[in-house]
Symmetry: C2
Subunit: 361 residues, 2 copies
């Protein structure tokens, strides 16, 4: 075989190398292809949440020019919806797309990276986790499980949930069987309710059959698609229990360490992009869906009385105090969270709080 | 030359190709190196703003494994601080990092993609531009200039600015010489003030020498570093004129079109990352800086009286009506903006507005 013909046969990459452009070709390690699996807690392709996972995978593929391909699985397709963290920990799959408060049985501190009743909103969670030291703590909490967390989305301030009876006083929570995860669920339990955890895909049937009396999910855009208005009379606001719920993207440590630095940077940037995209998606579509719920489906929109919120807030404080008194990691995380919350809360007095009044001037 | 030795000499890329992995090697076009220049409006490496440009360049370099290298220039280093858009339009440089309201002399519609008095906050601007159709309009506005816009940062709700005399009634604006750009400047002019535009690096000297009586800039984190407390007595809130100022990253059309798709995707994701990073940086650091201004530098913090804000809001409406009556593109953009603002404003009544009251429960 003659040299010229051999070079031609090697194709473009080799030709470039042979013509003195070798230094411009990325090293072979960077050219390796990675085919990863990402399991999620959401029904397949569920708008905003499942869609966020799909887009994350698409963006990683585009940025890496197909070197890192992430195949996304809906909840239950590969592992159960709430089996995501286990699958990533065990290395069965490389990635997960879920919400941290589901893993409270493994490490209670996880909840502070997801949703804290009367805690931070999306802007605050982003600033705390990404710029205020939260990510370092989150990594510390997940390290024993060989999982690396990334912040991959946010719901914004959620709706208060769907009820078949009115909440007029704190006593109306007594005996209420409500689907509500995380710290919010513990608060409902303290108020005498029965908090249960059901994955997204099973909520409607449970509510419709009366297995549960009430449920929270996300906000109008989502809740309309989930059809909850067919099974509940009242839609309550505000979502005191989840003022800025973070969606997490998790990566198994072994998988993460196997990636070259450029692909690690691509995965991180895709998570940032997913994060801002998802919040924008909810923001852009919630009001239109709310109007459909009100005007077309005749849903009755109700506000939690401030007197009830006041009691729920005091219960939230008690719930958190109980957790941090038993778990040193939760204590460490919550102290950092609370300091940050007080800090941005003070600044908000001069800014975001005023902004919300501009429309009434 | 024997085949084996020849393969070895070709280096790793070629070896991979020769051993049947040719399809795994990215095409030669994707391996080309791009060395780009990005000019900015900010003093070099200015925290948050200049730093945001520096980090954007770093992230692009990391993700592209050095295939796209962006060299960042501070305002005045290569072109004047307010010459950024011209330089990108003319193709003198490939990228710019600035704020859209500076280009009002070229196309008045640009202002709606930056800061609208009593308009949208950061969360709203992100949702409108990235998820609510705003980006398509922004691209349309910049297309005649051969510039592609990307959303690359946000200040959050700004502070109201630095004054040497108190603002007690709307009449206190009469004759006031204030550094304030964009639509906010036009509102101040309507109130009888004299709005001037001075680039960041020149404001302190102007204020200190009495060339201007007042200035707005960003918020405590930045304003502390700019040293304005040495030249002004009062620090006013809230920043009615800039409730969520967007920082833009611009790319010349020719430069953009020359990039392979993977590098385009990397540039877009780096802009998303910069956007969320910058807002988080301001959020995480504003309150600490505010406390230094109050406690160490004895700055007097003052609130604009609601009666003054009410008049300023009516002036803002007039200012915008005058612009849209003369410029069809501004009309098209503002109508979309206003529809979105009303939409998220309605949803905020049930959510973000309530969130701001949680701390008082």
């Amino acid at each position: 075989m003659k040299r010229r013909k051999f070079i031609k046969n090697l194709g473009i990459g080799a030709a470039a190398a042979a013509t003195g452009l070798a230094t411009r070709v990325a090293p072979a390690r960077a050219q390796k292809k990675y085919n990863w699996k990402m399991v999620t807690t959401w029904p397949p392709h569920l708008p905003a949440l499942g869609e966020g996972a799909d887009l994350f995978a698409q963006w990683v593929s585009e940025m890496s020019n197909g070197r890192l391909n992430v195949t996304v699985y809906g909840g239950g397709e590969l592992v159960p919806p709430l089996g995501v963290f286990d699958a990533v920990t065990q290395g069965t799959v490389e990635m997960g797309h879920s919400a941290a408060y589901y893993w409270v049985g493994k490490t209670p501190a996880c909840q502070f990276f997801c949703a804290v009743p009367f805690g931070l909103n999306a802007q605050g969670m982003n600033a705390w986790i990404l710029n205020g030291g939260g990510m370092k703590l989150w990594e510390e909490v997940y390290a024993p499980f060989n999982v690396k967390p990334l912040l991959g989305g946010n719901s914004g301030v959620q709706a208060g949930g769907w009820f078949n009876k009115e909440i007029k006083t704190i006593d109306d929570y007594k005996g209420l069987k409500m689907r509500i995860p995380g710290l919010g669920g513990k608060v409902v339990a303290k108020a005498g309710g029965n908090a249960v955890l059901v994955a997204g895909g099973e909520i409607f049937t449970n509510l419709d059959r009366g297995v549960i009396d009430a449920t929270e999910w996300v906000g109008p855009y989502h809740d309309l698609k989930m059809g909850f208005y067919k099974a509940a009379k009242y839609y309550y606001w505000p979502g005191w229990h989840e003022p800025g719920t973070c969606i997490e993207i998790t990566v198994g440590k072994k998988a993460w360490d196997s990636l070259p630095k450029d692909l690690q940077a691509i995965v991180e940037a895709a998570a940032y992009k997913s994060n801002i995209w998802m919040l924008g998606e909810f923001e852009a579509k919630n009001n239109a869906a709310l109007q459909v719920l009100i005007n077309k489906h005749k849903v009755s929109i109700k506000q939690f009385p401030p007197s009830v919120l006041k009691v729920l807030k005091s219960y939230a404080k008690e719930v958190i105090e109980e957790i941090v008194s038993k778990d040193p990691m939760s204590k460490k995380v919550y102290e950092a969270f609370l300091k940050f919350q007080n800090d941005v809360g003070e600044w908000a007095k001069y800014t975001e709080e005023q902004y919300q009044t501009f429309k009434y001037l």
